[in-house]
């Protein structure tokens, strides 16, 4: 039985169509429809309920050390008021989950984890906490994302201080609300963690602005694929290491050859040895979408060699054509190169396309 979001009644009232995701009944689309929801977010401000994502707080004198063990970066040096894209690795160098870790204070970190990974992430961190003078605790929150070019203007009316943030900066409000200038659409925007008691009023206040519309998970997926952002469980998983996933950039250079974090030695070995495949963007030449799981081939002939796999794909409403991401052998990754995807037994031509498909419009300051 799927759990319901704390704001479920609001989504029902808004006419949402629901689907199961990460153990929750999630709004997939609203009456606007996924196409218009997507385009609205790129032009105005889209409001997403992403409360399936998990908030985990790590506190205590050795909280920086715990984070540095769980995640491959120098949490000790992380500046207060900043968020960082990172991940947790297993001993084999595979990805347990990808995360945003924000430093809220000298001895306080907030981990935002994928909904489908919430339980295993929490268990992993709680087990680690036994080795440190630190405490790990799940924080029940309503988590909203406001995304799109009008987000800053809209949110400034409710939270005047929000305008002071630049991309990947975070703050806390007096009432405990967590605010981060970040998102998963490629647009400027914010992610807002609210206590369930005040969340409904806050969402209603946002929706009073004519620029704001509810946006479902369907458009969230097409927006993130156009922006070239990977989705855990789709583009990578526990069997994928960050080198193969193209996410090594998130590890400081001096930690790629080893460190005290879990998975360091396995990762160093993988980084030295190199990997056979590399992530790429794929633009199907025709109109048929090419979706995750489709195999990629060097040529159109049935006996041409398989050279990769599609990890995510669908239609890109802002691009006006299908968009996909996948992994192909190193020799085939040049932009403009033509390869073929097998879709229902047919070979569909695809062109290697640089990511992202649309420019990322993050706010990095004036």
């Amino acid at each position: 039985m799927a759990k319901q979001l704390p704001l479920n009644a609001m989504h029902v009232a808004a006419g949402a169509r629901f689907g199961a995701f990460a153990g929750y009944d999630m709004p997939i689309t609203y009456p606007l429809g996924v196409m218009k929801e997507h385009l609205h977010t790129r032009a105005e401000a889209g409001l997403f309920d992403i409360s399936h994502m998990s908030h985990i707080e790590i506190t205590g004198p050795e909280s920086p050390d715990l984070v540095s063990r769980a995640c491959p970066y120098h949490a000790v040096q992380q500046q207060q008021g900043t968020g960082r894209y990172t991940y947790m690795l297993n001993q084999q160098g595979g990805m347990i989950d990808d995360l945003i870790v924000s430093r809220l204070g000298p001895e306080r970190f907030l981990v935002v984890a994928n909904g489908a990974c919430a339980d295993k992430d929490l268990a992993h961190l709680v087990a680690l906490a036994g080795d440190f003078n630190a405490r790990v605790q799940h924080i029940p929150r309503v988590f909203l994302a406001l995304q799109g070019p009008k987000s800053a203007m809209v949110l400034a009316r409710l939270i005047p201080a929000s305008g002071g943030l630049t991309f990947m900066q975070v703050m806390e409000l007096d009432d405990g609300t967590f605010l981060s200038r970040s998102g998963y659409t490629g647009e400027d925007g914010f992610e807002i963690g609210l206590s369930p008691e005040i969340a409904e009023d806050f969402a209603k206040a946002l929706l009073q602005d004519p620029h704001v519309e509810w946006i479902g998970l369907g458009a969230r997926d097409s927006l993130r694929i156009e922006a070239g952002l990977p989705l855990y469980g789709q583009d990578m998983d526990e069997k994928t290491d960050p080198v193969l996933a193209g996410l090594l950039w998130a590890i400081p250079k001096e930690l790629r050859g080893g460190g005290d974090y879990i998975g360091a030695s396995a990762l160093a070995e993988i980084a030295t040895r190199g990997v056979s495949h590399k992530p790429v963007g794929l633009k199907p030449d025709g109109k048929a979408p090419v979706r995750g799981g489709a195999l990629l081939f060097a040529g159109e002939a049935p006996d041409s060699p398989q050279i990769g796999i599609v990890t995510s794909g669908g239609f890109g409403p802002s691009c006006g054509h299908p968009v996909a991401m996948g992994r192909v052998i190193q020799s085939a990754t040049l932009a403009g190169n033509q390869i073929y995807a097998d879709v229902r037994g047919r070979r569909l031509a695809c062109t290697i396309h640089k990511l992202p498909f649309v420019p990322r419009n993050y706010y990095r300051g004036d």
Binding site: M35, H38, S222, K287, A288, F315, P317
Partner: protein, 122 residues
């Protein structure tokens, strides 16, 4: 005199003599959301009842459309190649999918009438 039947898989079948025009219901297009691609069969293809004969792709997912009865594809709606959204705009009109010849008109008796389909989708 044409009469319209429905399937539990949310197709409509408008029968005229021994030919029928087939599409997906308005309820089905609402469930699927914005269509971005329709993969239609070749004219002349023989299809058996229950066989996947068309794929409709929304932004998010691909779904099969099944042959409602045995028959042969006579024509497809070419307008959908450029405008798959016609199915969303007029699922039971201009957004029709294929025209087919019926092998056995008695198969129609097992399909739903309008009232039964309306009851099915509530």
């Amino acid at each position: 005199m044409a009469s319209t039947f429905y399937t539990e898989d949310h197709e409509w079948v408008r029968v005229d003599g021994n030919e029928a025009v087939v599409g997906i219901t308005n309820h089905a297009q609402e469930q699927l959301g914005d269509l971005v691609f329709v993969e239609l069969p070749e004219a002349g293809r023989k299809v058996a009842r229950g066989e996947a004969m068309i794929v409709v792709e929304s932004v998010k997912a691909a779904s099969d459309v099944y042959a409602p009865v045995d028959g042969e594809i006579l024509a497809v709606n070419d307008a959908l190649e450029g405008s798959p959204g016609l199915v969303n705009e007029a699922a039971e009109g201009d957004g029709w999918l294929v025209r087919m010849k019926l092998d056995d008109a008695t198969q129609l008796e097992t399909l739903l009438d309008e009232a039964a389909y309306a009851a099915l989708v509530g």
